[in-house]
Amino acid sequence: MTGFSLVVLDVLAVLIVVYLYRVVRGPTVYDRILGLNGISTKAIILLVVIGTVYERVAMFVDISTGYALLNLVGALALAKYLEQRGAL
Amino acid sequence: MNAAHSNTLPLRTLALFVLWLLLSESYTLGHMAIGFAAALSVAFWNSSYLSRSEYQVRWVQAFAYLPWLFGRILASGAHLSYLILHPKLPIDPKMIHHRPRLSSETALVILGNSITLTPGTITLEASSDELVVHAMDDESTMDVVNLRLENKISGLFVRRASRQ
């Protein structure tokens, strides 16, 4: 199944470029945050897929869990701040 | 920390410890001791965040709720995909103000989360007397407006016999 996993990895990488376009272009800062959130969701999945390709799921799942939690903290901090301060 | 929380402390510790055992795959004494200490301290330090509510979860209905929610997510996901891929982009975004009849905070959180998870609707504001929901078009709003989600969720909780 490694061939199929590689296809999944490549498709996800291409999709990330689309989200990156939104992060770079996004008219408001909220578009950028949303784009970054989409990228990190995909990156978390990418990590798990890489883990299955290498057959070391345990370690990669640790990384992706840590990243998911950090992503939550970062996004919440950012949203809270922008809420208080208003749009830029 | 009041009496009600210390009652569930061993239970929560046990649940966290079982999760640790399943995830760590290492059953030496040292690792298990570390895991137990971690589970106990997490369960202990989070005690103050549990608010003592007068509602009790009906676990059978709660487990039946998840597959049902997933079915709704699938259906509205297909609908949203149709909206996005349609060449004319037939979307008609609108805000709906919805007054939930749920009195428990937990139920309100679950309702808000379910609305956001269902494609086509996102909770914008959640307070105990009003929910503001942003919806893609009229069809996506159905579950919120006709109270299907809400009735399901209120079925998950039962008022606890008051002990004081």
Partner: protein
């Protein structure tokens, strides 16, 4: 089991492609948030469930399911927080008929 996993992953990928298309086509933050929620709730769930199915019944499948449920719980929170910040800072949602 492997073919079930591959099928689930393909469905997940399809939903993700749709969400990416939506990310480009949709007109404003609020509607784009719907597209991101679509990726998270359906694409990620199908993909990770497919990966777990490929692992069979093993601790590894359980680990993947932990990541899945984490995404399932945390992502609505992030989407809600972002959109609420956008609304509170006074961003007007796009509507079909221009006022």
């Amino acid at each position: 089991m492997e073919y079930v996993g591959a099928g689930l992953m393909t469905v997940g990928l399809l939903f993700m492609v749709v969400a990416a298309v939506g990310m480009v086509r949709l007109p404003d933050v609020y509607t784009r948030a719907h597209a991101v929620a679509l990726t998270d709730s359906l694409g990620a769930v199908f993909l990770l469930a497919g990966l777990a199915a490929q692992q069979g019944f093993s601790p590894n499948a359980l680990r993947i399911l932990v990541v899945l449920s984490l995404l399932y719980i945390l992502n609505p929170v992030i989407a809600h927080a972002t959109i609420r910040a956008a609304r509170r800072s006074g961003l007007r949602p796009w509507t079909r008929e221009k006022p």
